[in-house]
Each structure stands twice: as structure tokens, then as C-alpha cells.
Amino acid sequence: MTQEKFSECINRIKNKDKSGLKDIYDEYLGYIYSIIYGVVNQRENAEDVTQDFFVKLYNMAETMELKDSHKTFLATIARNMAIDFMRKNSRQVAVDDFIEEGIEPVANDKVEETVIGDMTVTEALATLSEKERQVVSMKILSDMTFAEISEALGVPMGTITWRYQEAIKKLRRLGYE
């Protein structure tokens, strides 16, 4: 979506026309949802936060002043909302049914090449610890820097980097680069 098109959608929202929001929703649902999912790491919570995000966007349209790219702007709001949600719900639910479909962690030395080759990304992610999976999700899906993840989780940056590297190391054994 171009900047002009986005501004036009916002103007329609200002006139209480929901079609403006629908256009933004159609264009960016996947982008926003994956950012939020990357932080909250659980499907129901990600859906709730995504819903809140679009409602918020609708409500803030009147006062919205876009200076930078609208995509960056949307990503920042989505990320902040997800982080707020995660902090409020201090007991982080990091295991998702999407990932957790009865998959046992795989003992690395016993896995045969054929099995590794067939392993889906969700199965591979299920072999990681919760903390590692969260860092990988935040890094890959939410496109956050290590510093941002460190701040969001309140964990030293070295630890975050470390967890990421450990996760990548494990995933590499399963054929993921």
C-alpha cells in the first residue's frame, strides 16, 4: 500500500467510514498479526491484541499525523501493544497450540536424516525451550533488534543474544538455516 493510499484510507476513517479500515486490514492483517504473534507467542492472545490494534487505529485516526513510513508506524504501534499486553500478563504464555501439537523434543543424536528432512518449522520450533522460542519469534516475526527484545523482556542483551544463538544452533541441526 502506498503512502497516499494509506492517507486516503485514514481520511475515510476520519469520516467514520469503516471501509478505510477494512482496506488497511486486508493489506496488513498478516503483517500486524505476525508481529504481535511474535511477541505474545500464543494464538488467542495474538488475535485479541490484533483486534485491539485495529480498533485503536480506527479511534486514533482523527489525531493521527504521519511523519515516517506508515508501515513502520503500524509496526511500532503493534509491537508496543503486544509488549504492553505481555507485561500486563506477567505469566507469559509462550507455548502455543500451533506449535505444541503433541510433539516431543527430539534427541539430536538419534534423529535420522530422513526425519530431519521431513520436520516442519513448527516441529522444529517445538524442540526449543520457551525462552529460546520467544526470542526467535520476536527476532524473526516481529523483526525486533536484540536491544529491543532485551528491553521488552527485561533480560540482559547478552542473554538474549545467547538464547538466540543457542536456538539457531539447535535449529541448524534440524536443517534450518
Partner: protein, 317 residues
């Protein structure tokens, strides 16, 4: 066969996208309705004095429901006035409580403590003296016996001599006992602390504060992993810190590690690490292998710092 993690993960999430438009639309409608209703009928503080049959019942408004009776409506404040508590009660009750719960017990404890210390002091002194020199009490007791004997016989020089002996003897014994006791205790404590520090993080520490790490510290303690590495490249970052891309050739020895879930380094793994400032001027031979220690740097994206296992080896470089 290598697969693209980032691409596949994003695709997996995208394939599982929920349809939220219905929910979003409903939420916006609900908010708008709430706003509209809120502007037209701000019912929160409206009191309806009419009879129920003539009015719409707002069950959320308890004042309106109360007003369905034909009795005169009394506000919450009026009702409270019936049970008004005299002002002095608010001062007297807490004061009495403080007096009973704090001042009297504290006074009592202080009194007991004062008596206790008076009573226990000589005993303690005697115990120290006894511990220091088992023979001392006998000597002291003999001196005391002589004192009383002399006093009983009114032999003044003998009394004076016995008193001096008793005073000198007991003072000296007390000093000896205290110094011996403190010395032993201090030595034990010091050894205990040092042992604890060494066991805890593998390094000798100057400060006792390391005995009680915070949660954050516990999450990011130092590792010492003995490794053999090859230096692939050495360069400086924008801050002027020297960095090295290194390949792990071999891992030996034990390591002490936190953060959790660390599996240790693996041969063939390539990492980027800070070069410890002591070694920043060393030259590295390409493909040469060096024995190193790798430390964990908690607050940095590049979370490793490398130093040489045997500092003397840097002389060869």
C-alpha cells in the same frame, strides 16, 4: 538439505491467519454505541423518583430502583450520619493500639534486655576466661579466697595484695580470652566466605556482595570455557573495541555456565567475540590455533569476550 527458517516460520504463521474483521467491526460498533448512549443519557447519577409503571427500569442504577418505593429517598450520606462515630474515637483507638502493641512490649523488652545484659555479662566474661585458660578460674578463685580470708582476719596488707592480684589476673585473662575468641571466629568466617565465593562462580571475589546475586545477575553469570580457536579475522568496531571472528577448533575442560540452556561450544562453530583489552595489540597468525577462555558479556549484543588461556603465549605472536 537446508531450509529457510525465517521464510518458513513467517509462512506458517501467515497460513494460519485468523479472520478478525467481524470481531473488529463489532468492537467498533459497540464502542460507538456506548459513546452515543453515553452522550444522550448520562444515567450514572440520575435519580428517578417516579413510580416504576411510568418509567423504564434501569437496573444498573440502584438509586432509581430504591426510589420505586414511595418512601422518601435517603442518600448514602444521610444513611451514614446515623452511624457517625465520634471524632475522638479515631484518635483514641489507634493511640491505644500503638500503646498496647508497640510501646509497652518494646519497653518491656528493653527492660528485660537491660536486666539480661547486666546479669549475663560476668558469666560471659567468665566463660571467655575459662575457654582461654582452664587453669585461670582456679587461680582467680584462690585469689578471691585469699581476699576473703584476709578480710575476715582484718589483715590489711594481705587484703590489698589479694585484691591487686585478683584484679590484674582477671583483666589479663579476659583480654586474652576475647582476643583469642575473636581471632578464631574471624579466621573461620573469612575462610568460609572465600570458599563459598570460589565455589559459587569459580573466581575469587573481593566483595561479599557477590554472594547474593540478584535475579538479573544470576541470569548472566560469567562462563569460562576452555577452547582452542582459530582467528579468522580481527577488526575494530565503531567504538574502537577490538573484535575477532573465531572458529572453535576444540573444546576441553569444564565450564561454569549461566544463562541456562547453554550446551557448550562445538567444534566448527564460528562466533564473534570481543578481544580482551590486554591482548588487543597481539598479532595473530592465520590458521594458528590458540588456547583461550571465553567469557560471557551480559549487556552486549556480542556476548563473548576472549582471552588467552596462557598469557605467556602472546609473547610468541
Amino acid at each position: 538439505m537446508n531450509k529457510d527458517l525465517s521464510k518458513e516460520y513467517k509462512e506458517a504463521v501467515m497460513n494460519d491467519l485468523p479472520d478478525l474483521w467481524g470481531r473488529i467491526e463489532a468492537a467498533i460498533d459497540a464502542e460507538e454505541n456506548a459513546k452515543t448512549n453515553g452522550n444522550e443519557t448520562p444515567t450514572s447519577n440520575v435519580i428517578n423518583f417516579s413510580k416504576p409503571e411510568n418509567n423504564t427500569v434501569n437496573t444498573a442504577n440502584k438509586y432509581a430502583v430504591n426510589a420505586y418505593d414511595n418512601e422518601p429517598v435517603k442518600s448514602q450520606t444521610q444513611k451514614k450520619k446515623k452511624f457517625r462515630i465520634p471524632a475522638w474515637v479515631f484518635v483514641a483507638v489507634p493511640s491505644a493500639a500503638i500503646l498496647l502493641l508497640v510501646i509497652i512490649p518494646v519497653g518491656f523488652m528493653m527492660m528485660l534486655g537491660g536486666m539480661g545484659s547486666k546479669m549475663s555479662a560476668p558469666t560471659t566474661t567468665a566463660n571467655y576466661a575459662y575457654d582461654a585458660s582452664p587453669a585461670a578460674p582456679t587461680t582467680t578463685a584462690e585469689a578471691a579466697t585469699e581476699y576473703y580470708d584476709a578480710a575476715a582476719t582484718c589483715d590489711e596488707p594481705a587484703v590489698s595484695e589479694a585484691t591487686e592480684y585478683y584484679e590484674e589476673d582477671s583483666t589479663q585473662e579476659y583480654k586474652n580470652a576475647v582476643s583469642d575468641y575473636d581471632f578464631t571466629l574471624g579466621q573461620d568466617k573469612l575462610e568460609g566466605l572465600q570458599g563459598l565465593m570460589e565455589n559459587f562462580d569459580g573466581t575469587k571475589s573481593d566483595s561479599a556482595s557477590s554472594l547474593a546475586p540478584t535475579e538479573r545477575e544470576a541470569d548472566s553469570r560469567v562462563i569460562n570455557d576452555s577452547v582452542t580457536v582459530k582467528f579468522l579475522s580481527v577488526y575494530e568496531n565503531e567504538e574502537g573495541k577490538k573484535l575477532a571472528d573465531i572458529e572453535i577448533v576444540g573444546v576441553y575442560g569444564d565450564y561454569l555456565v549461566i544463562p541456562e540452556d547453554f550446551d557448550g561450544f562445538e567444534a566448527g562453530e564460528t562466533i564473534t567475540a570481543y578481544l580482551k583489552p590486554d591482548f588487543k595489540d597481539a598479532d595473530f597468525t592465520e590458521d594458528a590455533e590458540y588456547d583461550c577462555i571465553i567469557n560471557f558479556v551480559p549487556d552486549d549484543e556480542i556476548c563473548y569476550e576472549i582471552e588467552f588461556k596462557t598469557p605467556s603465549r602472546t609473547e610468541d605472536y
